[in-house]
Symmetry: C2
Subunit: 223 residues, 2 copies
């Protein structure tokens, strides 16, 4: 077996020319990290996360936003979405519903994907209710120290319920949705979030600016 | 509830300022896509994928390489890795082993994550045996047309077995590993791969250069 230089390929050493996280961060001009937005449905996490994403994008940062829209249709698809292509038994096993273990696995996978984005030198933003402290702490634990930035977007339940952008609180109050966070399932507030945002009293753009300022103070972003 | 401009926050419209895939690709200076390397264990997919990754990195492209090293410890962890943090029942349900469904879900999740990287304007490289045509085609099907670039790294079984970088063929021949691709489980060759690389007769760097040239011809990369 001659290789393209006439040598014997079996003797060739197959080196990996890996690109490291540091290489990727140098090219990006900033560190990778996870901005983990958490809070009640309707607290504004997705809006603020999108605003932060936009501000970072405008500064030339490499970012990506993980949210229900891009995760629940693919990676964490419901059983019904998997069934057509993979069959009923497969869908039952690997599809994610809204049971307790399913929600735990939902957050675990999102954390694992966020970790991959961080390895790629990217600022990964996530916008999920992620109501359980244990699940958020588990994501923090798999990431290198300092890479998990917990951002609690706080608003009183009444405010979130009055916004009710998707009509979910109404359905939960009517008993059409069971286990809804804030109604018949708990939201466990972060005990020591890196960033606390008060969304009942501040505009999304002002909250987004707070996040950017924090990233600069923390040395994750150039001032 | 006064907002920071003295208005009523309940009347504020919470717009999303989303960054689109096109925005991200413009910033990157290239299109996102998946370079899906497939082939027998020992065929050199990982080596060639790393070499391509390095070449793309040196051209300033935004890339990321998904392989067993970064996927099997987190996103697609084995049951034993999940058990400590999530408990035995959870680990049994969501942990991935090497059974038929597990391998299918392994590839499905990798495809879904690659899709997220593509949405982020990144060139995602994957290096997995991915022996079943159906599983590779399922990944192709979830991606927008043209975004899945199947790269078959071909080498005769004897060559791969003689390289045996991890000693896996030896174990498979000894019956210590069951269902090993090429020995007692089939490798289904791609029927129409976008790129075919002959790794028994060419050096990894030459094969990597072939991939770059293909990406240029396909308009995915500037010439």
């Amino acid at each position: 077996m001659a290789d393209d230089r006439g040598g014997e390929v079996v003797d060739v050493r197959w080196h990996a020319h890996a690109v490291s996280r540091e290489d990727r961060e140098r090219a990006a001009g900033h560190r990778g990290c996870v901005l983990w937005f958490t809070g009640l449905s309707g607290c504004g996490k997705s809006t603020v996360a999108n605003a932060v994403d936009r501000l970072l994008y405008e500064r030339g940062c490499r970012t990506f936003l993980l949210d229900g829209d891009n995760v629940r249709h693919g990676l964490n698809a419901a059983p019904a979405l998997l069934e057509a292509r993979h069959g009923a038994e497969f869908a039952r096993r690997f599809g994610l519903g809204f049971g307790s273990q399913d929600r735990e696995e939902n957050i675990r996978r999102i954390g694992a994907v966020a970790e991959l984005f961080v390895q790629a030198g990217i600022i990964a933003l996530t916008a999920f209710i992620s109501p359980y402290r244990r699940d958020r702490d588990a994501v923090r634990a798999v990431l290198p120290a300092g890479d998990f930035v917990e951002i609690y977007v706080r608003a009183p339940l009444e405010v979130c319920e009055s916004r009710d952008p998707k009509g979910l609180y109404k359905k939960a109050r009517a008993g059409e949705i069971k286990g809804f966070t804030g109604i018949d399932d708990p939201y466990e507030e972060p005990l020591q979030p890196e960033i606390m945002l008060e969304s009942a009293s501040h505009q999304p753009d002002a909250l987004a600016a707070e996040v950017i300022a924090w990233l600069q103070r923390a040395g994750k972003l150039a001032a």
